[in-house]
Amino acid sequence: MITGHTGKILLVDLSSGSIQTVPTSKRLMEDFLGTRGMSAKLLYDYVPTVIDPFDSRNVVVFSAGPLTGTPAFAPSGYFASVSPLTGAYTDSGVRGHFAANLKLAGYDAFVIRGKAKHPVFLWITNDKVEIRDATFLWGQDSIATDALIKKDLDNPRVHIASIGPAGENLVRYACINSDLYRQAGRGGVGAVWGSKNLKAIAIKGNGGIQLARPDEFMSLMKEMRAIIERDCEPLRAEGTLWLVDAMNKYGLLPVMNFRYGVTDKPQNINGAYAIKSARKRNAGCYSCSVMCSNTVTVRTPRYGKISLEGPEYETLDLLGPNCGLLDFSRIASLNLTCDRLGVDTMSVGATISFAMELYEKGIITKADTDGMELKWGDAEMMEELLDNIALRRGFGNILAEGSARAAKIIGNGAEKYAMHVKGMELPGYDPRGMTGMALAYATSDRGGCHLRAWTIYEEVMGGLNRYGLSGKAALVAARQNRKAVMDSLGICEQIGLAPVFLSLLGAAKGWDVKAQYNDVHTKLLEDLTIRGNIGIGARIYTLSRAFNTKFGKTRADDTLPDRFFEEPLMGFEDPGPKLSRSDLSILLDDYYQIRGWNKEGVPTKETLEKYGLEEAAADLY
C-alpha cells in the first residue's frame, strides 16, 4: 500500500487528447519527495532537448507533496516549466485548495504536453478526467472564468486554476490564478498555458490519503498545532505586511526602482494601516490554521468598494513604493487588476517602475509611450498601462516582454535600469544591504527570487555582519537546501520547517527520517536524509542547476543588475552601501565549492553521481 503519496501521475497530451495515468516511481517519492522536487524531476524527464518556452514540446508539470491533503499544514503545489522569462528552469508555487484537491482526486502530479487546436480546459474529478471546450472562456478575466466554469460544471465547490487575458496573449510574466486570489505568479507559467491553448484546470477530489501510522500522526498534529500557535501569532495579526515596517527600518524596502532603501511614509501602507483602515478578516489555505492572508475592504475609483485577498508584502512594495505610489487602496486596486488580467504583480510592478525611470531619464518620451506620461506614483496611468500590457496594445506590447527583453528593444542605455536576474525581475528586498541575499539572488535557479534562500533574518536581525563575506556562501547553500526540502514537502514558507514536520513525514510514509542540522545555526536544518539517501535539498538544487546549464546558463548569468555595483543605496546610511563585483566573485567561488560545482558553476560529474543524478551526468558529460 502506498501511503502519503497517492501513487499515480496524470499525463495529458493536448495535441492528441490522450489521457493516461502512470504509477509514481519509488525513486520520485524517495529522492524528490513531491511538490517542487517532483516537479523539477518530471520537468527534466519530459523536456529532453533544449526548446523555446512557447514550443509545443514544452510541458507544464504540477505536483503536490507527500503531506499535501493531510491535516499537516502543507497545502502547496508547484508548477514547473521552461520559463518564458528566463528561457530556462522555473517553478512557481501555489497554496489554497488546488493542490490538496489534486491529491484527494488521487494524483500526485500532472504533466501537460502538446498544444490544443482550440481553447480547452481540463476537468479532473477523481478518476474522471475530461478535456472540455473553453472557447466561451477565451478572453475572459480570471474572476469571470472562475464563475463561468463553476456554472458550466454546475458545481460551486470545484477549485479552479486559470489564466487571464495576459496568459492568452503570451505576456511573458503571466501568472496562474487559483481560487480567485492565489497565484502561481513567478516565471510566466501562465504564458506557457496560453501557448498550449489551455485556459483553466478545474479539480474536485473526494478520495482519501492513506497514512502509515495514523495514531502517531494524530499525536504529532497536536504538537505541531502548539508550535504554530506559539510562533505564528504575529502572522495572524498582520500577515506578511509586518515586513513593510521591518524592511523600512533596515533600509531594504525598494523605493522608486531600487533607488532608495526607505520610504518616509510607511504608515500609509503598513500592517497597522491595513488593520485600522482596510482589514476585515483573515483567510487561510487548506488545513492551515495560521490564516496569514489578509482580506481587505477598500474603496477605489476603478472598482468602487471592493473586498479582496491581498495585497501581500511583495505586491505592496513593487506596485507601491517601487513605483512611487504610497496609497494602500490604490495598490489594492492595482492588485485586483493584476489578478483579473493574470499578470505577476511582482514582475509587472518592477517592469512598470523600470519604464517610469526610463521616462524620467528621458530615454523614452511621449512618442514611445503612445502619449502616456509615465510619472512616479500615477495610479490611473498604471491601471491603463496594466490593461495595455495584458492585451499587448501599443507600448504595453514592449513591456509585456519583461524588463530584460524590453530594455534590449528600447536600447539607448536602458539595460542599466532593468532590475532583473537571468531575466526575472527582482522581488522587494534591496540586496545592497546584505551580501548573503545578493548571493542568493545571483545563484537562484529561477532568476530574481527571494524564495530560494531568505537570509535576511540571520544577516540583518541575527548575529552575522550584513556587509561581511565570511560564512555567507555556506549560509546561502544551507538555506537553499532547507527551502528545497520545505517546498518539496509542500510546507508554506510562512510557517517554516519545524522538526515536527519531518516526524509527520515519517508517520505518513512509514519512514525513518533523519535531518542534518547546521552546527553554527543549530536551529537550521541543513539537509534531509531518508533511508540512507543523503541530501534531498542539495539534490533538487543540483538538478535544477543541471537543467539551467543544459539551457545555456553559465557563471556570467549568476550576477546582479549593474545598479547595485555602481550606485549606493540612497536614504538609509551615509554613505550608502553598495556591492562590489570582486566580493560577489569571491562568494560565487566559495558557493560553487560548497555545492561541488566547478569554477564555471557547472555541477561536476562526481557531484551529480553522488546525488544519483545519472541522467543529468549523461547529458552534461
Binding site: 491535516p71 465547490r157 495514523p214 497536536k222
Partner: protein
C-alpha cells in the same frame, strides 16, 4: 453536559476538522469520510449537535443507535446498522451521514469526550463546551461591546451630528457618517436593530450573525429630510 457548538460565520473552510476526524475514526485522511461536514463537502458546516430530542435514535429501526450516558453522544453499533439512512433523513441539523463506500452511518461520537475537530479548529468555529458557558460568553461579549461603545460615544460630539436616521439612533456609535456615506464598524454593533427600525427605506436586512449591514449612504438629503419630518410629526 458539554455540546458541540457551531459558529458558521467563523468557518474558513480549511477542512482540518474533517481530516482529523477521518484519521481519528477511520485511520485514513479523507475529507468525505468524516463525521463532521465542512463547507467544502456540503456547502455549509454541519455536525451532530447532540440535540435533546435525538430523532435519529427514535427512527432507527435496527436499534443500532444509542446514547452514551457519559458524554451524551449518539453511538452507532456498526454491526447492526444496515445503512438505511433514516436517521440522516430525519436529522434537522444534517448531523449524520451514510458513508457511500461502506454504506454505514457516520455520526459524531464526541471522541469519548475530547472532540478532535474542536481541538484543531483554528477559528473556534467548532467549540465543545457547556451550553450555559456559551450563553455566558455571549452575554460577556455584548457587555464588553457596551463598554467599548461607552468610550467611543464619549469622544463623539453628539450635538454636532446631522446625519441619517440610522446613525442618529445607533446607541453604540457602530454607524457613523464617513466621507463616502455611512460607515459600519462591526466591532461596536450589538445587534439591537434600532437602525433598521429607524430607516425610512428599510435598506438593511438582518444578516446571519444578527447584525445590520449598512446602506452605505443610500440615504441622501431627501431621506434625512424625510426622517426629520417624521420626527416633527411624532413630536406634535
Amino acid at each position: 453536559m458539554k455540546r458541540i457548538i457551531i459558529h458558521e460565520e467563523d468557518c474558513i473552510n480549511c477542512c482540518a476538522c474533517a481530516m482529523v476526524c477521518s484519521i481519528g475514526h477511520y485511520g485514513v485522511c479523507d475529507r468525505s469520510k468524516s463525521n463532521v461536514r465542512p463547507p467544502e463537502e456540503e456547502g455549509r458546516l454541519y455536525a451532530c449537535l447532540q440535540c435533546g430530542r435525538k430523532v435519529c435514535v427514535e427512527t432507527c429501526l435496527k436499534k443500532a443507535l444509542k446514547v452514551d450516558v457519559q458524554t451524551g453522544a449518539v453511538i452507532c453499533d456498526l454491526e447492526k446498522c444496515d445503512g438505511c439512512g433514516k436517521c440522516a433523513l430525519g436529522c434537522p441539523n444534517h448531523g449524520s451521514h451514510v458513508d457511500p463506500r461502506t454504506e454505514k452511518i457516520m455520526i459524531c461520537d464526541l471522541c469519548h469526550g475530547d472532540p478532535l475537530c474542536a481541538n484543531v479548529c483554528p477559528t473556534n468555529a467548532i467549540q465543545y463546551m457547556e451550553l450555559n458557558d456559551y450563553a455566558q460568553q455571549k452575554r460577556d461579549r455584548i457587555a464588553s461591546k457596551m463598554i467599548l461603545a461607552q468610550q467611543r460615544l464619549e469622544v463623539i460630539d453628539l450635538a454636532a451630528r446631522e446625519e441619517p436616521a440610522c446613525v442618529v439612533v445607533c446607541p453604540t456609535g457602530a454607524l457613523l457618517m464617513g466621507p463616502y456615506g455611512v460607515d459600519f464598524f462591526e466591532d461596536y454593533c450589538i445587534g439591537c436593530h434600532k437602525c433598521l427600525e429607524a430607516c425610512p427605506i428599510r435598506s438593511g436586512e438582518l444578516s446571519d450573525g444578527g447584525q445590520i449591514p449598512p446602506c452605505h449612504g443610500l440615504c441622501g438629503d431627501a431621506g434625512i429630510e424625510a426622517i426629520r419630518t417624521l420626527k416633527k410629526e411624532d413630536g406634535q
